[in-house]
Amino acid sequence: MIGYALAFGFSAISLALLFNLWRLACGPTMTDRVLAVDTMVTNTIALIVLFGIDQGTTMYFEAALLFAMFGFVSTVAYCKFLLRGDVIE
């Protein structure tokens, strides 16, 4: 039963990632592209967690945590760059 749920989860999140990729490719503004990257990071965390359930190992939590942290930092850095033209002033 968990296998079917995981199959559904993998396909739904992969489709979500494709949507994000479309927005990344033809988002009209720069902020749209940053938002698309941020959403892709969030979806990738979900994908990693589901893969961890599939493999039955807790090894992937650290990867998911690192993704969460770097996603946040990179989004803030991108926004700072858009606002000020510089990341560290």
């Binding site: 968990i2 999140i13 902020t31």
Partner: protein, 126 residues
Amino acid sequence: MSMTHEVVISLMIVIGATFALIGSWGLVKLPDLMTRLHAPTKATTLGVGGALLASMIYFMALEGKMSIHELLISLFLFLTAPITANFLGKAYLHHYVDPEKALPPARGKYGWSTFVAAPEEESDAD
């Protein structure tokens, strides 16, 4: 692993994945950035929360002890989602919106705080 555990875990996975899909569909469908911000910051974060909850229950049922790694990830995501949304909205306002035309006049003495610098005597006071 009991049947109840399996049902709850599968339900959590399906709900989480559906929310993630709805959030990304909103990112494609909605008309401009200020409305588009809503979909990923709310629905996708909730979707990841569902997946993390499923993982927490799964490993609790498998190994018999509570693991707080997932709680850490979901706490971090729930804390950072509003900050990134606020930052993105600010960047959008400063780049693509003319405050004279698009925004209603501010009711206070000084105007919108993101466009107007802090008044002098206030910053001297502290």
